[in-house]
């Protein structure tokens, strides 16, 4: 394995073109992450058309740069102006902005920068170590298990996407339906084509994605005429000299917080569809609970910057583990990455790391290297960011809308793709306005074909439908799906209610059953621990409930 890592490392790090592209990607990501209204996903989506002409490793390295850069770019605007550039840097502003206002902008930026770097490094190590192991685990999966995993990925996206679960489910189903249009994968029969040869080919992934996400976002950004004509940010900031040495020393001094937050980030990333927007707040909350000086939080606490920034970069590594090992995207950004791989005729899955080790490890190395670019380019991107924020949104939106059209056309050289992008852009815009979350729809589009393929394979292999609940992994994912569907009710339930008290222990008990069925000693030990701990908690909490 070591020689493959070396070879893959050489293919990325010794190729000046790949390095150059990654540098440009990181810079673009830093800017996309820094500008409020632009998201990392949008940055990655807009980079995609440029990667068509590149080799898969060059394309992925470029997008990896955008991904890592975007995660760290959000901290610049969040700290300097109090407006987070991306949802993944929301918690950074809680203490970053007060520290800047207290006259320490260089230290605040340095802390954010180096926390991101170290968080990313920790997750890169875990990525290299864990992804191949998880892929081995994935080799145990049959089509029943895969289908249940996809169901779980969709339900967790829905449960995490907002207050209105019904709308989330409808969005997911619309995504699944969009993936059904055109020739089906198994029989090659046209579906819902209404006589059109273009629709018969199905909707290409990229136009749908750009339409739903980028196009609709731009329309939302220019909706308010006054805001659209004003410069991107009313508050401007001065160029700041980052205090690197002091920041590194402080991050290393608070290593427990760094590691805890990074592991929270990795775990959140591994969960399908849970991204940096959740992990940064979770890590901040845990850092606050664990801190001795809780009163300092919100006033410029060092730990309050280290936690969210290390967590959001570590989330990227976690999301990549899931995508590379099982072919299930960890969040919208990795969903786009998955689409990019498919454009290059590469389909990640459990055998991907074994079949394409150079490419897989190349991606790992690119993720690793992008963090160095991120540190190196931060000062330059800060100056660029200050320039870009003077441009009004309507100018950016108009130019980017045209760019979207050109980029989408470049995919297949047909105008129909631009119409598809426009159509889905209109749908996406109205979905945003009507309160439908877009993440489930995007995941539905990405995973729809995979879901259908696996259910068809399952039914083709055996007509025993009970296999979905008797196969351990399938049962495990179905239970996880039910848990994720019930999660919003748990969140909204009264803390003193019986449901709220027994939800977590019951989940532990129920999850132990499929683990017992798997049979391997390690899994049976984990199952026994879960069963005992869950059972004990149920007993304890129901008893205390009776006494109340």
């Amino acid at each position: 394995m070591f020689d493959i890592i070396l070879q893959a490392g050489a293919s990325v790090l010794l190729d000046p073109l790949t390095l150059g592209l990654m540098g440009i990607g990181t810079l673009a990501g830093l800017l996309a992450g820094a500008i409020p209204g632009f998201t990392i996903a949008m940055g990655v989506i807009l980079t995609l058309p440029f990667t068509f002409g590149m080799s898969p490793i060059q394309g992925l390295a470029t997008m990896m740069g955008v991904f890592v850069g975007g995660l760290s770019g959000g901290l610049m605007s969040g700290m300097l102006t109090g407006i987070p550039g991306t949802p993944s840097s929301v918690a950074t502003t809680f203490d970053g902005f007060p520290m800047v206002r207290a006259g320490k902008p260089g230290l605040a930026l340095g802390l954010g920068l180096w926390s991101s770097f170290f968080g990313g490094m920790i997750s890169a190590v875990i990525l290299v170590a864990l992804a191949p192991q998880l892929a081995f685990l994935g080799l145990e999966f049959g089509p029943w298990d895969y289908f249940s995993l996809i169901v779980f990925a969709l339900t967790i996206t829905v449960s995490l996407s907002g207050d209105n679960m019904v709308k989330g489910l409808i969005a997911g189903l619309l995504g699944l339906f969009a993936a059904c249009v055109g020739e089906d994968e198994i029989n090659g029969v046209a579906r819902f084509a209404f006589g059109s040869d273009y629709i018969r080919q199905g909707f290409a992934f990229l136009p749908v994605l750009i339409g739903l996400f980028a196009f609709s976002q731009l329309l939302t950004d220019v909706e308010d005429s006054k805001k659209a004509k004003a410069p991107l940010m009313a508050k401007t900031a001065d160029p700041v000299r980052v205090e690197h040495r002091k920041a590194i020393a402080l991050v290393i001094k608070n290593w427990i917080n760094l590691f805890r937050s990074s592991f929270i980030g990795i775990f959140t990333g591994i969960l399908p569809a849970a991204g940096g927007s959740i992990s940064n707040i979770l890590a901040y909350d845990q850092a606050k609970k664990a801190a001795k000086n809780r009163d300092e939080f919100g006033k410029g606490a060092v730990d309050g910057i280290i936690a969210p920034e290390s967590a959001n970069n570590a989330t990227a590594g976690g999301a990549l583990i899931m995508m590379m090992a099982l072919g299930i995207p960890g969040d919208i950004v990795t969903a786009v990455m998955l689409g990019a791989l498919m454009i290059h005729n590469i389909i990640p899955g459990p055998s991907f790391i074994q079949d394409e080790p150079m490419l897989a490890y190349g991606v790992f190395i690119a993720f690793f290297a992008a963090h160095f670019f991120m540190v190196g380019l931060q000062a330059f991107s800060l100056r660029l960011f200050l320039l870009v924020t003077r441009i009004p949104m309507y100018v950016l939106a108009s130019v980017i809308l045209a760019y979207c059209a050109i980029g989408v056309f470049a995919l297949h050289n047909i105008t129909f793709d631009i119409w598809v992008m426009f159509g889905f852009g209109v749908i996406g815009y109205f979905m945003r306005k009507l309160g439908f979350p877009l993440a489930p729809m995007i995941l539905g589009v990405v995973l729809g074909k995979l879901a259908e393929l696996n259910i068809a394979r399952a039914i083709g292999t055996s007509d025993d439908y009970f296999l979905f609940v008797t196969r351990p992994w399938s049962l495990f994912f179905i239970i996880m799906a039910i848990i994720s569907v019930l999660f919003p009710f748990y969140q909204n339930a009264n803390k003193d209610s019986l449901f709220s008290k027994i939800y977590v222990p019951i989940c532990m008990v129920v999850l132990s059953f499929p683990l017992f069925l798997m049979g391997s000693p390690v899994r049976m030990i984990i199952a026994a621990i879960l069963l005992l701990a869950g059972g004990f908690l149920v007993y304890k909490r129901t008893n205390s409930f009776k006494t109340i």
Binding site: G53, F192, F194, Y394, F409, T415, Y429, I455
Partner: protein, 162 residues
């Protein structure tokens, strides 16, 4: 815009949409092979959509009733809120419809210039600014995609005649 009225309309729309698509699913050819038929999965998805839309309809209707609405204009929509979005839609449709004639270069410049001017304003200074932005940005993209990425962008009948 998110309120009971709009949710009610959307739920009804989704039910109609699902109905039309379920009806069209019966036109999907059955090749007679063993295993899952081509229309099975879309039907499952669409029926689930029907269930979810019905839940949304029921939920919204109950809320709508309890809210005791006196406003009878259920279908009244404030178009001024969507003015800029509608401008973008209109310009994009115009751009796409004329793409075969104007090509990506001229059409793109016209699209960006038109959109900038309609969204940003009409003063002489702004018109010149918008014109230069549109020529520079689209020109740059056209050069990058045509010569850098070797993509054959539509040249349009006007440029072809020249």
């Amino acid at each position: 815009m998110t309120n009971n009225k709009s949710d009610l309309i959307i739920a009804i729309f989704l039910l109609c949409f699902s109905g039309i698509m379920i009806n069209d699913a019966s036109n999907i050819r059955d090749l007679g092979f063993e295993g899952m038929k081509a229309d099975a999965w879309p039907r499952v998805v669409l029926w689930m959509l029907v269930v979810m839309s019905s839940i949304m309809l029921g939920k919204t209707y109950l809320q709508f009733k309890t809210d005791n609405h006196k406003d009878n204009n259920i279908f009244k929509i404030n178009f001024s809120k969507f003015k800029n979005a509608l401008i973008c839609f209109g310009m994009f449709i115009f751009f796409l419809s004329t793409l075969d004639y104007l090509g990506m270069l001229l059409g793109g410049i016209l699209f960006v210039f038109g959109l900038l001017t309609l969204l940003g304003g009409f003063t002489i200074r702004l018109v010149f600014k918008h014109l230069s932005i549109s020529i520079l940005s689209i020109g740059f993209m056209w050069v990058v995609f045509t010569f850098g990425l070797r993509v054959m962008l539509p040249e349009g009948e006007i440029l072809r005649v020249w």
